[in-house]
Structure formats: C-alpha cells, structure tokens
C-alpha cells in the first residue's frame, strides 16, 4: 500500500479544483479572516487561476464568506483553496472568536462595547 503514496502531490498540486477534497484542514469558518502572509512573497507559478484570484483578494483582510461572494466560488471550494494557500504559507489565517472559552470573554466585552458605541 505504501508505494501508492506519493509525496509529490503535497508540494506541487496539479489538481482539478479541490482534488476531490471537501474539507479544509485549517479552522476556516465562514467568518474567519484571512490575509496575505508576506506581501513580498513570490507566488508559485503553478497556482490555479481561482487560487490566484483568492490570493489577490487577500491583499486586504477579508472573511472566507466575502471572498466566496466576491469571486462567486462556492463556500466549500473557497475553504479548501484557502486551506491550501495557508499550507503553502501564502495566506495568514486570523484568530476567530467563538466565545467557547472563558479566555475570550474579554473580546466579547469589547464586542459589546463596540455595539454600544454603534447603536446608542
């Protein structure tokens, strides 16, 4: 069985779209923000057009859902392609606050203060 596993796929990925994967390996939720990790980085030449478009949008901090909507690429596909870009160190995944840990309460309090400022 082992002989069937080829490492080359991990580095250069001539896949058709998401290579059949439907799940991303990174905690990429619809609200998760992403941005270009290093503006000076050189883009691999074999990047798919969709991945390149996503990468270019990441010049500004954006959410997965916003990228999906802007490029009209379905959410699931966007998540997988972003996950690949993150694997290659091209895209930085920002923290997502879920409120499921007490340590995040401070951020939730900030969120409430923000809402109070906006909706006085």
């Amino acid at each position: 069985m082992r002989s069937h596993r080829r490492r080359r796929g991990a580095r250069i990925r001539p896949y058709t779209f998401t290579g059949g994967r439907t799940r991303s390996r990174h905690p990429l939720m619809v609200q998760t923000l992403v941005s270009i990790a290093d503006p000076r980085a050189e883009l691999p030449r074999n990047l798919m057009p969709e991945s390149q478009q996503i990468y270019e949008l990441c010049a500004q901090v954006r959410s997965v859902a916003e990228i999906s909507a802007e490029l009209k690429i379905p959410l699931g596909v966007t998540q997988v392609l972003l996950s690949d870009l993150a694997d290659q160190g091209l895209v930085y995944i920002h923290p997502t606050i879920t409120g499921h840990s007490p340590s995040e309460n401070q951020v939730l309090e900030r969120a409430l203060r923000g809402l109070e400022r906006l909706f006085q």
Partner: protein, 198 residues
C-alpha cells in the same frame, strides 16, 4: 508590561460571528440589512444532500447537489474586531447545513413573526438541542401590531424563562442593534462551560 504588538507585522484583526435564524420572511434579512455596514451580501454554498431527502440505498449513492444562498452583513466593532451576521436559509429542508453555519458562532437570534409562530419552531428546536450556542428570541413587530404579549409568545414557542425574548422592529437600525446588544449581554451572562473553567 511592554506591548510588543508593533513588532508583529501580521495584522491582529480578528473576527466573530452571530447567526440570525427564523422562519422564511420573519425579518432575518431585514435585520441584517438594518445593522450591517455593508449592503447584505449573498453567498452560495453548494450542499450535497446525501440520503437526506431520499431513503435510497441503491448501489450508486444518489447525491443531489443543491445551492443554498445565505445572506450576511458585517460590523466593524473596533480597530481589531469584526463581527459578521449570518442569516440562515429559512427553509426547513436545508437544516442539515446548519451545523456548518452555526459552528463557532458566539450566539444566535431567532427572529419570530408573531403572526406565523409555527415558522420559527424548527429554529428554536435546533438551538434547544444545540446547548452550546446561546440564543435569544427577537419578536419582530410588524407595523406595531401587539396581538400577543411576550409571555404568551414564550408559552406558545415553549422556551424556558431563561431564554430572553425581546420585541423589536427589524426595519429600525437602533431597534435591531439593541437585539445584537441583548444577545452579547446574554452570552456574557451565561455560566461558563464547566469543562473549560480553570
């Protein structure tokens, strides 16, 4: 303590999410549109309905691909915190995709139209079962009609006294904003998850 933030070239901006649920036409999109700093955006999720609707066990898996549209809006709460509001697809047949959408939400609002109470039952059931997402009920008062009191609504939708029910007008920005504030206050007031208390 010296702050060392500036040495980090990575932006420290982070995000959070709340979910706006409720029956079709109850006012979810109106609420999102009232508070959002951007016009509500529609994105599409391709969903694979595998044996959800059909009890088909033939040799080839009978998968039906459906495209579901979701609305979302955005609020910049401070320099480093953005909150997204996601409206869930209203139709009950898309319930199977809720887990994905709700995952990681700090809370949820179930928008209720008192004239069509039964439409919100699916959403309330979902959050009653999914105990780790705090939710509140927002009673959308269309044209100020007041046929039922909050307590009558509470009885009708069968939620306990701990679930806040507030009245609002989804078309009104401040009124909709007060719903979001109420949800955050409720989320913060909830006892911490026992397994996470240090």
């Amino acid at each position: 303590m010296a702050s060392n933030v500036s040495s980090n070239s990575r932006p420290s901006v982070m995000s959070t999410k709340i979910v706006i649920a409720g029956g079709f036409g109850a006012g979810k999109t109106t609420l999102v549109g009232s508070v959002s700093e951007i016009p509500p955006v529609t994105t599409e999720a391709v969903m694979t309905e595998a044996s959800i609707a059909h009890d088909d066990v033939s040799s080839t898996p009978d998968k039906v691909t459906t495209t579901v549209a979701m609305d979302f809006g955005r609020l910049t709460l401070d320099e480093e915190l953005i909150m997204y509001m996601f409206g869930t697809p209203g139709q009950a047949r898309f319930w199977f995709m809720w887990d994905d959408l709700v995952r990681g939400a700090v809370g949820a609002v179930v928008v209720v139209d008192a004239r069509r109470l039964a439409d919100c039952f699916d959403a309330i059931d979902y959050f009653e079962k999914n105990q780790n997402i705090p939710y509140i009920i927002a009673l959308n008062r269309f044209d100020g009609e007041r046929e039922y009191t909050v307590e009558q609504i509470r009885e009708a939708v069968e939620v306990g006294p701990d679930v806040p029910i507030i009245e609002f007008d989804a078309r009104d920005r401040l009124s909709s904003g007060s719903v979001l504030k109420q949800l955050l206050k409720y989320t913060l007031s909830r006892p911490e998850q026992p397994e996470l208390v240090g």
